[in-house]
């Protein structure tokens, strides 16, 4: 993998307008999620007794209205976005580390170790994942940390499969042979020679993992099994809005629109990266 591939990928990505727009929107959303709750006038759990359930653009300062407890909806949505994004990025990182390590090692070792390791992945794959994530959240209690563990426990499987396939092909290449001849140990070869050459597919799949994790987290939070009040995530904000939609539909619309936009952008960016980094599909 030379510099040429990355330069080609960059050029390809620059010509993909949908992916670029998505990237820009994601940057804005990410920046707003990090900085927004500090910059705006209200705190996420601050109750404005004079303005309860006011629609957008009516009350002073509450640009997107307030919820039924008088909490500013824009601030709350940004806060929920921050929590959802943080969990999604952390869970993706977990699945990245486990999946890449597991897959690269299995693919490099081959033989019985590979068969055993991938059998384990197959078994976990055959489980109904959503339901086991629910069992795990029941077991570890509700909250961001147990949610992270539960989602991370299953998130790495596809990554491990992709990486293993690539590693099987890479280990036959001359530079790995050269490293073996040079006396490098297994861990060093996997870490320094195999993994860096896997980056393309790993980046693509990681980008596509983020929206999946966001959806699982907000699905559980929507059901009340994930993030709990007073903490907010996009999922329990949507649930909150759904219970009020008859009288105050904006409480549903704002977080729902934010969630859908987020997932759209990650999917488009992932597709764009795949076109740029995966030469087979070109």
């Amino acid at each position: 993998m030379s510099g040429g591939l990355w330069r080609d990928a960059l050029r390809q990505l620059k010509s993909d307008r949908l992916a670029l727009v998505s990237l820009a929107i994601l940057a804005v959303l990410g920046g707003a999620a990090v900085a927004g709750p500090w910059l705006l006038d209200f705190r996420e759990d601050e109750i404005d007794w004079a303005h309860m359930a006011v629609p957008p653009f009516v009350a002073d300062g509450h640009w997107l209205g307030t919820d039924r407890l008088g909490r500013d909806l824009l601030v709350r949505t940004l806060f929920g976005l921050r929590v959802s994004l943080a969990i999604a990025l952390a869970a993706t990182l977990i699945s990245l580390v486990i999946g890449v390590g597991w897959g690269a090692l299995a693919g490099y070792l081959r033989g019985r170790a590979d068969a055993l390791m991938m059998r384990f992945v197959d078994v976990l794959y055959s489980l109904p994942q959503v339901f086991f994530v629910i069992i795990l959240t029941v077991v570890f209690g509700r909250g961001p940390l147990s949610l992270l563990v539960a989602i991370g426990a299953f998130g790495w499987l596809t990554m491990a499969r992709i990486v293993r396939g690539q590693a099987l092909a890479l280990r036959e290449r001359e530079f790995v042979e050269a490293a073996v001849v040079g006396g490098a140990g297994t861990l060093r070869i996997v870490g320094r020679h195999i993994v860096p050459n896997l980056l393309g597919p790993v980046i693509v799949y990681a980008t596509l993992t983020v929206p999946q994790v966001i959806l699982v987290e907000s699905f559980l939070s929507f059901l009340g099994i994930g993030i709990q009040e007073p903490l907010a995530s996009l999922g329990n904000l949507v649930a909150d809005g759904a219970s009020e939609m008859e009288t105050a539909p904006w409480i549903l619309a704002v977080p729902a629109a934010c969630l859908v936009l987020l997932v759209f952008c990650f999917n488009f960016l992932g597709d764009g990266l795949r076109d740029a980094l995966d030469p087979r599909d070109r």
Partner: protein, 312 residues
């Protein structure tokens, strides 16, 4: 291998998966810190001991597991820890018909809409119809069920007042419509994309060109030569589609107030009702395995390459 042996081998192959699911869900719930009787107000130790004895929780884990498996084989999922007057088997028996009804209806509706939409898009490749179907499909995939469900309820139930927002009367179609459509939409989107992609690929195959060269009309080329091959991936998608519908049914049953298994599962998860959650997960897992098996068998029956090999 005879047809019977092929089916029998596939059935037997599902048993280890099921065993792992039962063992894993049992062990995980026993790992849990705190018992099912941890309430806000601590129970007196004598009452607690009596309760645990009544539910067999004072026994070693191995004995509990043996009892649980023995019960499962008799169709007994044990007592619910929180719905004190019900066994889990009773809750499953009351919820399963509702969940099955909306789940099967959603799968059938998704097939009836998604496959034709995909065929239409493939035949109109690059034109407006294609772009319309594909844009809608991306939207259907990106918008989660828990956003679609309240939106449909808001528009058709509250604003237009065409359909009930909640409620369930067995056999009343009006009650089923919104939940079924909600569950079907993401699957429609996936099926449309899948069918389009697969048909486009098949239409490029040499044997399709050969059929055209023989002067067969487009209708015959499509119906006899292209579609049977193009629809194979749709059959294998039955497994993932089932997973999507089952997960979606948790949301849909909660939002539309249907007395199905999904609502019991969510209630059980909120109450930390281990036997209930375990029982429901085992039933859901069995449904998923059964539909995956069905998809495998249909696939083997449809694909001439496998059919000849297996003489199915």
């Amino acid at each position: 291998m005879s047809t019977f042996a092929f089916i029998a081998r596939r059935l037997l192959g599902a048993i280890p998966t099921l065993a792992i699911i039962v063992a894993l869900s049992f062990l995980l719930t026993r790992l849990a810190p705190g018992g099912p009787f941890d309430e806000e107000q601590a129970l007196p130790p004598e009452i607690r001991a009596n309760l645990e004895a009544a539910y067999g929780l004072d026994q070693p884990v191995a004995v509990q597991f043996g009892r649980y498996v023995a019960g499962l084989l008799r169709g007994d999922f044990g007592p619910s820890f929180k719905f004190r007057d019900f066994t889990v088997t009773e809750l499953i028996a009351s919820g399963l018909p509702v969940s099955l009804a909306i789940g099967i209806a959603a799968l059938l509706l998704a097939l009836a809409l998604g496959v034709p939409a995909g065929i239409w898009a493939a035949l109109a490749r690059g034109r407006a119809a294609d772009r319309l179907v594909m844009t809608l499909a991306v939207a259907g995939i990106s918008v989660p069920v828990f956003v679609i469900a309240p939106l449909l309820a808001l528009v058709f139930g509250i604003w237009l007042r065409w359909l009930p927002v909640a409620g369930w009367e067995p056999g009343r179609l009006r009650d089923m419509l919104l939940p079924v459509v909600t569950l079907a939409l993401p699957v429609v989107a996936y099926l449309a994309r899948l069918t389009r992609g697969s048909l486009l690929e098949v239409l490029r195959a040499p044997w399709i060109r050969a059929a055209r060269a023989r002067g067969l009309p487009q209708r015959i080329v499509l119906a006899r030569h292209a579609l049977p091959a193009a629809l194979l991936p749709v059959v294998s998608f039955l497994g993932p589609a089932t997973a999507s519908v089952l997960a979606g049914s948790l949301v849909v049953e909660t939002i539309f107030g249907l007395p199905g298994m999904g609502r019991h599962l969510v209630q059980g998860a909120l109450n930390r009702d281990y036997t209930l959650v375990m029982g429901m997960v085992i039933v859901y897992a069995t449904l998923m395995i059964a539909l995956n098996l069905l998809a495998d068998l249909v696939y083997a029956w449809l694909d001439p390459r496998i059919r000849r090999e297996r003489r199915l």
